[in-house]
Amino acid sequence: MTDAVTVERVIEDTHRREWARVLAATVRVARDLDLAEECVQEAYATAVQVWARDGIPGNPAAWLTTTARRRAVDAIRRDAAMRHRLPLLVDPLLALPAEEEAVPDPRVGRGDDAADAIPDDRLRLIFTCCHPALAQEAQVALTLRLVLGVPTPDIARAFLVPEPTMAARITRAKRKISTARIPYRIPRPGELPDRLRGVLAVIHLLFTAGHTAASGSSLVRTDLVDRAVHLARMLRELMPDDTEVRGLLALLLVTDARRAARVGADGRLVRLQDQDRSLFDAAALAEADDLIVGCLRAGLPGRYVLQAAIASLYAQAPSFEETDWQQIVTLYDRLLEKWPSPVVELNRAVPFAMLAGPAAALGEVQRLERDGRLAGYQYLHAVKADLLSRLGRRREAAAAYGDALALTHNEPERAFLAEQIAAQLKAT
Protein backbone atom coordinates (compact mmCIF):
# COMPACT_ATOMS: atom_id res chain seq x y z
CA MET A 1 0.00 0.00 0.00
CA THR A 2 1.18 3.47 -0.85
CA ASP A 3 -0.61 6.37 0.75
CA ALA A 4 -3.08 8.22 -1.41
CA VAL A 5 -1.33 11.57 -1.09
CA THR A 6 1.94 10.20 -2.45
CA VAL A 7 0.19 8.46 -5.31
CA GLU A 8 -1.68 11.61 -6.18
CA ARG A 9 1.50 13.66 -6.13
CA VAL A 10 3.34 11.18 -8.38
CA ILE A 11 0.40 11.05 -10.79
CA GLU A 12 0.18 14.81 -11.01
CA ASP A 13 3.90 15.03 -11.60
CA THR A 14 3.81 12.27 -14.23
CA HIS A 15 0.87 13.95 -15.91
CA ARG A 16 2.77 17.21 -16.24
CA ARG A 17 6.07 15.70 -17.33
CA GLU A 18 5.16 12.54 -19.20
CA TRP A 19 1.76 13.11 -20.80
CA ALA A 20 3.28 13.81 -24.20
CA ARG A 21 5.50 10.72 -24.15
CA VAL A 22 2.62 8.45 -23.11
CA LEU A 23 0.12 9.87 -25.60
CA ALA A 24 2.60 9.98 -28.48
CA ALA A 25 3.47 6.30 -28.01
CA THR A 26 -0.20 5.35 -27.71
CA VAL A 27 -1.17 7.11 -30.95
CA ARG A 28 1.16 4.71 -32.76
CA VAL A 29 -1.04 1.81 -31.66
CA ALA A 30 -4.45 3.50 -31.57
CA ARG A 31 -3.93 5.27 -34.92
CA ASP A 32 -6.65 7.67 -33.87
CA LEU A 33 -6.04 10.76 -31.76
CA ASP A 34 -9.35 10.57 -29.91
CA LEU A 35 -8.98 6.90 -29.06
CA ALA A 36 -5.39 7.45 -27.95
CA GLU A 37 -6.41 10.33 -25.71
CA GLU A 38 -9.22 8.33 -24.18
CA CYS A 39 -6.92 5.37 -23.47
CA VAL A 40 -4.27 7.58 -21.87
CA GLN A 41 -6.86 9.22 -19.66
CA GLU A 42 -8.13 5.80 -18.60
CA ALA A 43 -4.56 4.68 -17.89
CA TYR A 44 -4.09 7.62 -15.53
CA ALA A 45 -7.38 6.80 -13.82
CA THR A 46 -6.37 3.14 -13.42
CA ALA A 47 -3.02 4.20 -12.00
CA VAL A 48 -4.72 5.96 -9.09
CA GLN A 49 -6.09 2.64 -7.83
CA VAL A 50 -3.39 0.20 -8.91
CA TRP A 51 -0.47 2.27 -7.64
CA ALA A 52 -2.15 2.78 -4.26
CA ARG A 53 -2.60 -1.00 -3.99
CA ASP A 54 0.62 -2.32 -5.54
CA GLY A 55 3.03 0.55 -5.12
CA ILE A 56 4.37 3.08 -7.58
CA PRO A 57 6.15 1.44 -10.53
CA GLY A 58 9.82 2.12 -11.14
CA ASN A 59 9.05 3.81 -14.43
CA PRO A 60 5.61 5.39 -14.18
CA ALA A 61 5.63 6.64 -17.78
CA ALA A 62 6.34 3.17 -19.14
CA TRP A 63 3.61 1.67 -16.95
CA LEU A 64 1.11 4.27 -18.19
CA THR A 65 2.14 3.80 -21.81
CA THR A 66 1.86 0.04 -21.64
CA THR A 67 -1.56 0.27 -19.99
CA ALA A 68 -2.84 2.85 -22.48
CA ARG A 69 -1.54 0.93 -25.49
CA ARG A 70 -3.10 -2.29 -24.25
CA ARG A 71 -6.43 -0.53 -23.90
CA ALA A 72 -6.12 0.80 -27.42
CA VAL A 73 -5.46 -2.68 -28.78
CA ASP A 74 -8.44 -4.07 -26.83
CA ALA A 75 -10.70 -1.30 -28.10
CA ILE A 76 -9.71 -1.93 -31.70
CA ARG A 77 -10.23 -5.70 -31.29
CA ARG A 78 -13.57 -5.19 -29.60
CA ASP A 79 -14.92 -2.69 -32.04
CA ALA A 80 -14.78 -3.95 -35.58
CA ALA A 81 -16.07 -0.59 -36.78
CA MET A 82 -12.96 1.05 -35.41
CA ARG A 83 -10.83 -0.94 -37.83
CA HIS A 84 -12.77 0.49 -40.72
CA ARG A 85 -12.40 4.06 -39.62
CA LEU A 86 -10.03 6.22 -41.59
CA PRO A 87 -6.62 4.71 -40.99
CA LEU A 88 -5.17 7.79 -39.42
CA LEU A 89 -1.62 9.01 -39.42
CA VAL A 90 -0.22 6.80 -42.05
CA ASP A 91 3.51 6.55 -41.99
CA PRO A 92 4.83 3.49 -43.80
CA LEU A 93 7.41 2.98 -41.05
CA LEU A 94 4.69 3.00 -38.42
CA ALA A 95 2.01 1.22 -40.32
CA LEU A 96 2.32 -2.06 -38.47
CA PRO A 97 -1.05 -3.47 -37.60
CA ALA A 98 -1.61 -2.88 -33.91
CA GLU A 99 -1.95 -6.59 -33.20
CA GLU A 100 1.51 -7.37 -34.42
CA GLU A 101 3.22 -4.91 -32.19
CA ALA A 102 4.44 -6.30 -28.93
CA VAL A 103 2.54 -4.63 -26.15
CA PRO A 104 3.69 -6.07 -22.86
CA ASP A 105 1.01 -6.81 -20.32
CA PRO A 106 1.27 -4.26 -17.51
CA ARG A 107 -0.01 -6.81 -15.05
CA VAL A 108 3.08 -8.94 -15.53
CA GLY A 109 5.85 -6.55 -14.64
CA ARG A 110 6.01 -3.23 -12.87
CA GLY A 111 6.68 -1.47 -16.12
CA ASP A 112 10.43 -1.17 -15.55
CA ASP A 113 11.49 -3.54 -18.29
CA ALA A 114 9.15 -1.98 -20.78
CA ALA A 115 11.01 1.33 -20.72
CA ASP A 116 13.24 0.46 -23.66
CA ALA A 117 10.35 -0.80 -25.73
CA ILE A 118 8.43 2.49 -25.49
CA PRO A 119 9.21 4.61 -28.54
CA ASP A 120 9.63 8.33 -28.04
CA ASP A 121 7.14 9.72 -30.53
CA ARG A 122 6.84 13.16 -28.98
CA LEU A 123 8.40 14.94 -31.97
CA ARG A 124 5.90 13.29 -34.31
CA LEU A 125 3.09 14.48 -32.07
CA ILE A 126 4.45 18.03 -31.94
CA PHE A 127 4.92 18.29 -35.71
CA THR A 128 1.46 16.87 -36.35
CA CYS A 129 -0.18 19.37 -33.99
CA CYS A 130 1.74 22.26 -35.61
CA HIS A 131 1.13 21.21 -39.22
CA PRO A 132 0.74 24.24 -41.51
CA ALA A 133 -2.48 22.77 -42.94
CA LEU A 134 -4.07 23.71 -39.59
CA ALA A 135 -4.87 27.31 -38.66
CA GLN A 136 -2.38 28.67 -36.17
CA GLU A 137 -4.99 29.09 -33.44
CA ALA A 138 -5.86 25.42 -33.94
CA GLN A 139 -2.17 24.49 -33.78
CA VAL A 140 -1.87 26.29 -30.46
CA ALA A 141 -4.99 24.66 -29.02
CA LEU A 142 -4.03 21.17 -30.22
CA THR A 143 -0.51 21.51 -28.87
CA LEU A 144 -1.85 22.47 -25.45
CA ARG A 145 -4.41 19.68 -25.49
CA LEU A 146 -2.39 16.83 -26.98
CA VAL A 147 1.24 17.61 -26.24
CA LEU A 148 0.78 19.13 -22.81
CA GLY A 149 -2.44 17.41 -21.73
CA VAL A 150 -4.15 20.66 -20.73
CA PRO A 151 -7.90 20.10 -20.28
CA THR A 152 -10.05 21.88 -22.87
CA PRO A 153 -11.84 24.14 -20.32
CA ASP A 154 -8.45 25.46 -19.17
CA ILE A 155 -7.38 26.17 -22.75
CA ALA A 156 -10.66 28.00 -23.35
CA ARG A 157 -10.10 30.13 -20.24
CA ALA A 158 -6.51 30.90 -21.20
CA PHE A 159 -7.60 32.25 -24.58
CA LEU A 160 -10.78 33.88 -23.30
CA VAL A 161 -13.15 31.95 -25.56
CA PRO A 162 -16.23 29.99 -24.49
CA GLU A 163 -15.51 26.33 -23.78
CA PRO A 164 -17.75 24.97 -26.58
CA THR A 165 -15.90 27.20 -29.06
CA MET A 166 -12.54 25.81 -27.98
CA ALA A 167 -13.85 22.24 -27.95
CA ALA A 168 -15.17 22.70 -31.50
CA ARG A 169 -11.86 24.19 -32.62
CA ILE A 170 -9.98 21.16 -31.31
CA THR A 171 -12.48 18.67 -32.79
CA ARG A 172 -12.31 20.38 -36.17
CA ALA A 173 -8.52 20.26 -36.18
CA LYS A 174 -8.47 16.57 -35.24
CA ARG A 175 -10.97 15.82 -37.97
CA LYS A 176 -8.82 17.59 -40.53
CA ILE A 177 -5.80 15.60 -39.39
CA SER A 178 -7.56 12.32 -40.06
CA THR A 179 -9.58 13.31 -43.15
CA ALA A 180 -6.80 15.09 -45.00
CA ARG A 181 -4.31 12.50 -43.73
CA ILE A 182 -1.85 14.80 -42.06
CA PRO A 183 0.91 12.28 -41.41
CA TYR A 184 2.21 11.36 -37.98
CA ARG A 185 5.87 11.84 -38.64
CA ILE A 186 8.85 14.12 -38.36
CA PRO A 187 9.21 16.16 -41.56
CA ARG A 188 11.93 15.19 -43.99
CA PRO A 189 15.20 17.14 -43.80
CA GLY A 190 14.20 19.32 -46.75
CA GLU A 191 10.95 20.42 -45.10
CA LEU A 192 12.27 20.51 -41.56
CA PRO A 193 13.50 24.13 -41.29
CA ASP A 194 10.14 25.49 -42.48
CA ARG A 195 8.11 23.16 -40.32
CA LEU A 196 10.27 23.79 -37.28
CA ARG A 197 9.73 27.53 -37.72
CA GLY A 198 6.00 26.82 -37.37
CA VAL A 199 6.52 24.85 -34.16
CA LEU A 200 8.72 27.57 -32.67
CA ALA A 201 6.13 30.19 -33.60
CA VAL A 202 3.44 28.24 -31.74
CA ILE A 203 5.58 28.00 -28.60
CA HIS A 204 6.49 31.67 -28.81
CA LEU A 205 2.86 32.63 -29.29
CA LEU A 206 1.86 30.55 -26.29
CA PHE A 207 4.47 32.33 -24.20
CA THR A 208 3.53 35.80 -25.42
CA ALA A 209 -0.15 35.12 -24.81
CA GLY A 210 0.74 34.30 -21.21
CA HIS A 211 3.40 36.94 -20.74
CA THR A 212 1.23 39.89 -21.66
CA ALA A 213 -2.32 38.69 -21.53
CA ALA A 214 -4.14 40.59 -24.27
CA SER A 215 -6.83 41.69 -21.88
CA GLY A 216 -7.92 41.16 -18.34
CA SER A 217 -6.45 42.21 -15.06
CA SER A 218 -3.33 40.11 -14.64
CA LEU A 219 -0.23 41.05 -16.62
CA VAL A 220 1.19 37.52 -16.64
CA ARG A 221 -0.89 34.41 -17.08
CA THR A 222 1.59 32.26 -15.24
CA ASP A 223 0.29 28.89 -16.32
CA LEU A 224 0.62 29.58 -20.05
CA VAL A 225 4.11 30.94 -19.55
CA ASP A 226 5.17 27.84 -17.60
CA ARG A 227 3.64 25.56 -20.22
CA ALA A 228 5.49 27.37 -23.00
CA VAL A 229 8.81 27.09 -21.16
CA HIS A 230 8.13 23.41 -20.47
CA LEU A 231 7.42 22.84 -24.16
CA ALA A 232 10.57 24.71 -25.22
CA ARG A 233 12.58 22.51 -22.85
CA MET A 234 10.96 19.38 -24.27
CA LEU A 235 11.80 20.45 -27.81
CA ARG A 236 15.36 21.22 -26.78
CA GLU A 237 15.66 17.74 -25.31
CA LEU A 238 14.30 16.26 -28.56
CA MET A 239 16.33 18.43 -30.96
CA PRO A 240 19.43 19.27 -28.92
CA ASP A 241 21.52 20.34 -31.92
CA ASP A 242 19.22 22.99 -33.33
CA THR A 243 20.43 26.48 -32.40
CA GLU A 244 17.07 28.13 -33.01
CA VAL A 245 15.40 25.71 -30.59
CA ARG A 246 18.01 26.60 -27.98
CA GLY A 247 17.63 30.27 -28.88
CA LEU A 248 13.88 30.17 -28.31
CA LEU A 249 14.32 28.48 -24.93
CA ALA A 250 16.89 31.13 -23.99
CA LEU A 251 14.57 33.93 -25.12
CA LEU A 252 11.70 32.58 -23.00
CA LEU A 253 13.97 32.10 -19.98
CA VAL A 254 15.40 35.62 -20.15
CA THR A 255 12.03 37.23 -20.68
CA ASP A 256 10.43 35.26 -17.89
CA ALA A 257 13.35 35.88 -15.52
CA ARG A 258 12.02 39.43 -15.10
CA ARG A 259 8.53 38.22 -14.20
CA ALA A 260 8.68 39.18 -10.51
CA ALA A 261 10.01 42.67 -11.28
CA ARG A 262 7.54 43.58 -14.04
CA VAL A 263 4.58 44.21 -11.79
CA GLY A 264 4.74 46.22 -8.56
CA ALA A 265 3.19 45.14 -5.25
CA ASP A 266 0.13 47.20 -6.20
CA GLY A 267 -0.29 45.22 -9.44
CA ARG A 268 0.95 48.07 -11.59
CA LEU A 269 3.32 47.80 -14.52
CA VAL A 270 6.96 48.70 -13.78
CA ARG A 271 9.13 49.91 -16.65
CA LEU A 272 12.47 48.24 -17.28
CA GLN A 273 14.40 51.31 -16.10
CA ASP A 274 12.50 51.23 -12.79
CA GLN A 275 12.59 47.45 -12.25
CA ASP A 276 14.34 46.08 -9.16
CA ARG A 277 17.08 43.96 -10.71
CA SER A 278 17.57 41.96 -7.52
CA LEU A 279 14.18 40.41 -8.27
CA PHE A 280 15.39 38.96 -11.59
CA ASP A 281 15.73 35.17 -11.58
CA ALA A 282 19.52 34.81 -11.64
CA ALA A 283 19.45 31.05 -12.26
CA ALA A 284 17.22 31.46 -15.33
CA LEU A 285 19.41 34.27 -16.65
CA ALA A 286 22.54 32.15 -16.21
CA GLU A 287 20.96 29.17 -17.95
CA ALA A 288 19.87 31.40 -20.85
CA ASP A 289 23.32 32.98 -21.03
CA ASP A 290 24.94 29.55 -21.41
CA LEU A 291 22.56 28.70 -24.23
CA ILE A 292 23.11 32.03 -26.00
CA VAL A 293 26.89 31.92 -25.77
CA GLY A 294 26.88 28.37 -27.16
CA CYS A 295 24.64 29.38 -30.08
CA LEU A 296 26.63 32.52 -30.91
CA ARG A 297 29.82 30.50 -30.85
CA ALA A 298 28.25 28.03 -33.31
CA GLY A 299 27.93 30.93 -35.76
CA LEU A 300 25.15 32.27 -38.00
CA PRO A 301 22.67 32.95 -35.21
CA GLY A 302 19.01 32.94 -36.24
CA ARG A 303 16.15 35.12 -35.18
CA TYR A 304 15.49 33.65 -31.75
CA VAL A 305 19.14 33.49 -30.73
CA LEU A 306 19.56 37.18 -31.59
CA GLN A 307 16.38 38.16 -29.77
CA ALA A 308 17.55 36.19 -26.75
CA ALA A 309 20.97 37.83 -26.88
CA ILE A 310 19.34 41.28 -26.93
CA ALA A 311 16.99 40.46 -24.05
CA SER A 312 19.91 39.02 -22.12
CA LEU A 313 22.02 42.18 -22.54
CA TYR A 314 19.11 44.26 -21.24
CA ALA A 315 18.60 42.00 -18.24
CA GLN A 316 22.24 41.34 -17.35
CA ALA A 317 23.38 44.95 -17.14
CA PRO A 318 24.14 45.91 -13.51
CA SER A 319 21.76 48.87 -13.91
CA PHE A 320 19.62 50.38 -16.67
CA GLU A 321 22.16 53.21 -17.11
CA GLU A 322 25.03 50.78 -17.57
CA THR A 323 23.31 48.85 -20.37
CA ASP A 324 25.54 48.23 -23.39
CA TRP A 325 23.42 50.20 -25.88
CA GLN A 326 25.95 50.00 -28.68
CA GLN A 327 26.05 46.20 -28.53
CA ILE A 328 22.24 46.01 -28.41
CA VAL A 329 21.87 48.24 -31.47
CA THR A 330 24.43 46.10 -33.31
CA LEU A 331 22.47 42.96 -32.47
CA TYR A 332 19.26 44.62 -33.67
CA ASP A 333 20.95 45.37 -36.99
CA ARG A 334 21.86 41.70 -37.34
CA LEU A 335 18.32 40.73 -36.34
CA LEU A 336 16.88 43.04 -39.01
CA GLU A 337 18.95 41.24 -41.64
CA LYS A 338 17.46 37.92 -40.53
CA TRP A 339 14.00 39.19 -39.89
CA PRO A 340 13.08 42.47 -41.57
CA SER A 341 10.06 43.59 -39.62
CA PRO A 342 8.72 47.01 -38.66
CA VAL A 343 8.26 45.76 -35.07
CA VAL A 344 11.99 44.98 -34.86
CA GLU A 345 12.76 48.43 -36.27
CA LEU A 346 10.56 49.98 -33.61
CA ASN A 347 12.28 48.00 -30.86
CA ARG A 348 15.65 49.12 -32.20
CA ALA A 349 14.59 52.75 -31.80
CA VAL A 350 14.58 52.35 -28.00
CA PRO A 351 18.31 51.54 -27.52
CA PHE A 352 19.09 53.83 -30.46
CA ALA A 353 17.61 56.72 -28.47
CA MET A 354 20.00 55.97 -25.62
CA LEU A 355 22.90 55.97 -28.04
CA ALA A 356 22.05 58.79 -30.46
CA GLY A 357 19.55 60.81 -28.45
CA PRO A 358 15.75 60.99 -28.49
CA ALA A 359 15.56 63.34 -31.50
CA ALA A 360 17.34 60.91 -33.82
CA ALA A 361 15.23 58.01 -32.56
CA LEU A 362 12.03 60.03 -32.97
CA GLY A 363 12.94 60.51 -36.63
CA GLU A 364 13.12 56.73 -37.01
CA VAL A 365 9.78 56.21 -35.28
CA GLN A 366 8.08 58.88 -37.39
CA ARG A 367 9.42 57.20 -40.49
CA LEU A 368 7.82 53.95 -39.29
CA GLU A 369 4.60 55.82 -38.56
CA ARG A 370 4.44 57.15 -42.12
CA ASP A 371 5.02 53.61 -43.38
CA GLY A 372 1.61 52.80 -41.87
CA ARG A 373 2.06 49.10 -41.13
CA LEU A 374 2.22 49.71 -37.38
CA ALA A 375 -0.71 52.13 -37.20
CA GLY A 376 -2.69 49.77 -34.98
CA TYR A 377 0.31 48.77 -32.85
CA GLN A 378 -0.01 50.29 -29.40
CA TYR A 379 3.75 50.21 -28.70
CA LEU A 380 4.52 52.47 -31.68
CA HIS A 381 2.53 55.21 -30.01
CA ALA A 382 3.96 54.45 -26.56
CA VAL A 383 7.58 54.63 -27.82
CA LYS A 384 6.84 57.82 -29.71
CA ALA A 385 5.24 59.33 -26.60
CA ASP A 386 8.25 58.47 -24.47
CA LEU A 387 10.65 60.09 -26.94
CA LEU A 388 8.49 63.22 -27.22
CA SER A 389 8.36 63.44 -23.46
CA ARG A 390 12.14 63.27 -23.23
CA LEU A 391 12.32 66.10 -25.75
CA GLY A 392 10.02 68.15 -23.52
CA ARG A 393 7.19 68.10 -26.10
CA ARG A 394 4.68 67.14 -23.43
CA ARG A 395 1.38 67.94 -25.14
CA GLU A 396 2.34 65.83 -28.15
CA ALA A 397 3.56 63.14 -25.76
CA ALA A 398 0.20 63.11 -23.96
CA ALA A 399 -1.61 62.77 -27.31
CA ALA A 400 0.61 59.86 -28.35
CA TYR A 401 0.07 58.14 -24.98
CA GLY A 402 -3.65 58.64 -25.64
CA ASP A 403 -3.32 56.86 -29.01
CA ALA A 404 -1.57 53.97 -27.26
CA LEU A 405 -4.24 53.81 -24.55
CA ALA A 406 -7.00 53.56 -27.15
CA LEU A 407 -5.34 50.41 -28.54
CA THR A 408 -4.57 48.72 -25.20
CA HIS A 409 -6.81 46.27 -23.35
CA ASN A 410 -4.53 44.91 -20.64
CA GLU A 411 -5.48 46.59 -17.33
CA PRO A 412 -2.01 47.17 -15.81
CA GLU A 413 -0.81 48.61 -19.12
CA ARG A 414 -3.86 50.86 -19.35
CA ALA A 415 -3.29 52.16 -15.83
CA PHE A 416 0.34 52.88 -16.67
CA LEU A 417 -0.57 54.80 -19.84
CA ALA A 418 -3.29 56.81 -18.09
CA GLU A 419 -0.75 57.83 -15.45
CA GLN A 420 1.70 58.93 -18.12
CA ILE A 421 -0.93 61.11 -19.76
CA ALA A 422 -1.73 62.78 -16.44
CA ALA A 423 1.98 63.33 -15.71
CA GLN A 424 2.60 64.91 -19.13
CA LEU A 425 -0.35 67.27 -18.82
CA LYS A 426 0.63 68.23 -15.29
CA ALA A 427 4.14 69.14 -16.39
CA THR A 428 3.02 71.51 -19.13
Binding site: V90, H131, T179, A180, R181, I182, P183
Partner: protein, 121 residues
Protein backbone atom coordinates in the same frame (compact mmCIF):
# COMPACT_ATOMS: atom_id res chain seq x y z
CA UNK B 1 -3.28 5.81 -50.73
CA UNK B 2 -5.84 8.56 -50.67
CA UNK B 3 -7.26 10.79 -53.35
CA UNK B 4 -6.99 14.56 -53.34
CA UNK B 5 -8.62 17.04 -55.67
CA UNK B 6 -6.37 19.88 -56.76
CA UNK B 7 -8.26 23.01 -57.78
CA UNK B 8 -6.21 25.30 -59.99
CA UNK B 9 -6.70 29.00 -59.36
CA UNK B 10 -5.46 31.36 -62.03
CA UNK B 11 -6.33 34.75 -63.47
CA UNK B 12 -8.04 32.77 -66.17
CA UNK B 13 -7.91 29.41 -67.89
CA UNK B 14 -5.48 29.02 -70.75
CA UNK B 15 -7.91 26.54 -72.30
CA UNK B 16 -9.83 28.89 -74.57
CA UNK B 17 -11.83 27.11 -77.32
CA UNK B 18 -9.32 28.41 -79.88
CA UNK B 19 -6.21 27.86 -77.79
CA UNK B 20 -3.14 26.81 -79.74
CA UNK B 21 -0.88 23.96 -78.61
CA UNK B 22 1.64 26.66 -77.66
CA UNK B 23 -0.86 28.25 -75.27
CA UNK B 24 -1.30 24.95 -73.54
CA UNK B 25 2.28 23.72 -73.60
CA UNK B 26 3.06 24.49 -69.93
CA UNK B 27 -0.14 22.87 -68.69
CA UNK B 28 0.26 19.82 -70.86
CA UNK B 29 3.86 19.29 -69.90
CA UNK B 30 3.04 19.33 -66.21
CA UNK B 31 0.04 17.09 -66.69
CA UNK B 32 2.10 14.58 -68.71
CA UNK B 33 4.66 14.55 -65.93
CA UNK B 34 2.07 13.70 -63.28
CA UNK B 35 0.48 11.04 -65.45
CA UNK B 36 3.90 9.53 -66.12
CA UNK B 37 4.82 9.27 -62.44
CA UNK B 38 1.44 7.72 -61.73
CA UNK B 39 0.16 10.36 -59.33
CA UNK B 40 -2.58 11.89 -61.52
CA UNK B 41 -5.69 9.76 -61.93
CA UNK B 42 -8.12 12.22 -63.54
CA UNK B 43 -7.95 15.75 -64.88
CA UNK B 44 -10.34 18.35 -66.26
CA UNK B 45 -9.32 21.62 -67.89
CA UNK B 46 -12.08 24.25 -67.85
CA UNK B 47 -12.74 26.91 -70.48
CA UNK B 48 -12.07 30.60 -69.58
CA UNK B 49 -14.19 32.65 -67.20
CA UNK B 50 -16.17 34.27 -70.03
CA UNK B 51 -17.75 30.89 -70.69
CA UNK B 52 -19.02 30.57 -67.11
CA UNK B 53 -22.66 30.98 -66.09
CA UNK B 54 -23.74 31.03 -62.46
CA UNK B 55 -27.05 30.41 -60.73
CA UNK B 56 -27.91 31.64 -57.26
CA UNK B 57 -31.53 31.25 -56.21
CA UNK B 58 -33.58 32.33 -59.21
CA UNK B 59 -30.89 34.55 -60.65
CA UNK B 60 -28.78 33.36 -63.54
CA UNK B 61 -25.71 35.53 -64.11
CA UNK B 62 -22.86 35.68 -66.53
CA UNK B 63 -19.44 34.83 -65.14
CA UNK B 64 -17.90 32.77 -62.32
CA UNK B 65 -19.85 32.22 -59.09
CA UNK B 66 -17.39 34.17 -56.98
CA UNK B 67 -16.29 37.47 -58.45
CA UNK B 68 -12.59 37.44 -57.75
CA UNK B 69 -9.23 38.05 -59.33
CA UNK B 70 -8.78 34.31 -59.72
CA UNK B 71 -11.05 31.62 -61.08
CA UNK B 72 -10.95 27.86 -60.95
CA UNK B 73 -9.21 27.13 -64.23
CA UNK B 74 -9.36 23.36 -63.87
CA UNK B 75 -9.00 20.54 -61.44
CA UNK B 76 -7.39 17.16 -61.23
CA UNK B 77 -7.30 14.19 -58.93
CA UNK B 78 -4.11 12.97 -57.32
CA UNK B 79 -3.38 9.77 -55.52
CA UNK B 80 -0.97 10.18 -52.61
CA UNK B 81 -0.21 8.40 -49.33
CA UNK B 82 -0.78 11.48 -47.16
CA UNK B 83 -1.32 15.22 -47.19
CA UNK B 84 2.38 16.10 -47.17
CA UNK B 85 2.93 13.97 -50.26
CA UNK B 86 -0.12 15.49 -51.98
CA UNK B 87 1.06 19.01 -51.15
CA UNK B 88 4.51 18.23 -52.52
CA UNK B 89 3.01 17.10 -55.84
CA UNK B 90 0.44 19.89 -56.07
CA UNK B 91 3.12 22.45 -55.22
CA UNK B 92 4.94 21.56 -58.43
CA UNK B 93 2.13 23.01 -60.54
CA UNK B 94 3.62 25.93 -62.53
CA UNK B 95 0.61 28.12 -61.71
CA UNK B 96 1.87 28.36 -58.10
CA UNK B 97 4.74 30.58 -59.25
CA UNK B 98 2.76 32.33 -61.94
CA UNK B 99 0.45 34.58 -59.95
CA UNK B 100 -2.05 31.86 -59.11
CA UNK B 101 -2.16 28.86 -56.83
CA UNK B 102 -3.76 25.55 -56.03
CA UNK B 103 -6.13 24.32 -53.37
CA UNK B 104 -5.81 20.73 -52.21
CA UNK B 105 -8.91 19.00 -50.86
CA UNK B 106 -9.26 15.39 -49.71
CA UNK B 107 -11.88 13.62 -51.81
CA UNK B 108 -14.78 12.08 -49.94
CA UNK B 109 -16.23 10.03 -52.79
CA UNK B 110 -17.06 10.28 -56.43
CA UNK B 111 -17.35 8.48 -59.73
CA UNK B 112 -16.85 8.96 -63.43
CA UNK B 113 -19.70 7.55 -65.48
CA UNK B 114 -19.36 5.58 -68.64
CA UNK B 115 -19.62 8.71 -70.76
CA UNK B 116 -17.59 10.78 -68.30
CA UNK B 117 -14.40 11.07 -70.27
CA UNK B 118 -14.55 14.41 -72.10
CA UNK B 119 -11.45 13.60 -74.14
CA UNK B 120 -9.88 16.46 -76.07
CA UNK B 121 -12.24 18.94 -77.61
Amino acid sequence: MAQYAVLIYAHDSAHAPDATPDDLATCDEHSDELVADGSMVAAFALTPRDMATSIRGDAVTDGPFIDSKEVVAGFYVLEAPDLDAALAIAGRNPVVHDGGGVEVRPIHSGFIGERGNPGNS
